[in-house]
């Protein structure tokens, strides 16, 4: 088990094998590589992607299929292989949610989902080729 500190939510013990490594970080945060997913609110469709390297950095994430049941998983698998995950590896997909100050409405980044390999435990933020998906998709 390793201890993860979150500025906002305190500290958590997580199994080491649940760490996801983004070898190149994500755009905007290239040096922060290790993250874990924390269920802050039981039963919520939103979870926290907490940086293990920086207690002050965390993202709200959600399952994009819950936002759009027709989300193109096949395209994501193909893109994920191009972005360095193992071919055919089972993956978890998440959309980063932006929660602005009210009255701003929460949005999900459906154009650039996070893809995390379940075997490799590697993550990458990919970009879909289909431009009908938006960076700010209103929830």
């Amino acid at each position: 088990m390793i201890r993860v500190e979150s500025e906002q939510y305190g500290s958590f013990e997580i199994p080491e094998e649940s760490v996801v490594t983004f070898p190149h970080g994500i755009p905007g945060f290239p040096t922060l590589q290790r993250y874990c997913i924390i269920e802050v609110k039981q039963g919520s469709r939103f979870k926290l992607l907490q940086s293990i390297d920086n207690a002050g950095l965390a993202f709200v994430i959600t399952d994009p299929l819950g936002v759009d049941p027709d989300y193109p998983l096949q395209a994501i698998h193909e893109a994920a292989a191009q972005f360095g995950l193992e071919q055919g590896e089972p993956v978890a997909v998440a959309a980063i949610v932006t929660v602005p100050k009210p009255p701003g409405r929460p949005t999900a980044n459906m154009l650039a989902p996070l893809v995390m390999g379940k075997n490799s435990r590697l993550g990458v933020q990919i970009v879909l080729h289909d431009r009908s998906y938006e960076v700010r998709h209103e929830l």
């Binding site: 755009p27 905007g28 932006t98 100050k101 929460p106 154009l111 650039a112 990458v124």
Partner: protein
């Protein structure tokens, strides 16, 4: 920084394992092929900047976002 002039079909190699090939030049558009190790993410610049901006916005949260969701 380096600036090159290349013809169609010519290649630029970056380090040992990145190759950039000028596939086609047609009018004001250039088609480029990039061969790089799989672990190097490649983005179109304008999309990279858009995602970078949105990631920075998403990382800026005041208060508990979970109270404002669901």
């Amino acid at each position: 920084m380096l600036t090159f002039t290349r013809k169609q079909g010519e290649v630029i190699r970056i380090g040992d394992d990145i190759r950039v090939t000028i596939k086609e030049i047609r009018g004001r558009k250039v088609r480029v092929m990039i061969e790089a190790p799989r672990e190097i993410p490649i983005y179109r610049e304008e999309l990279y900047l858009q995602i970078e901006t949105e990631n920075a916005r998403a990382a800026q949260v005041d208060g508990d976002p979970f109270e404002r969701l669901d």
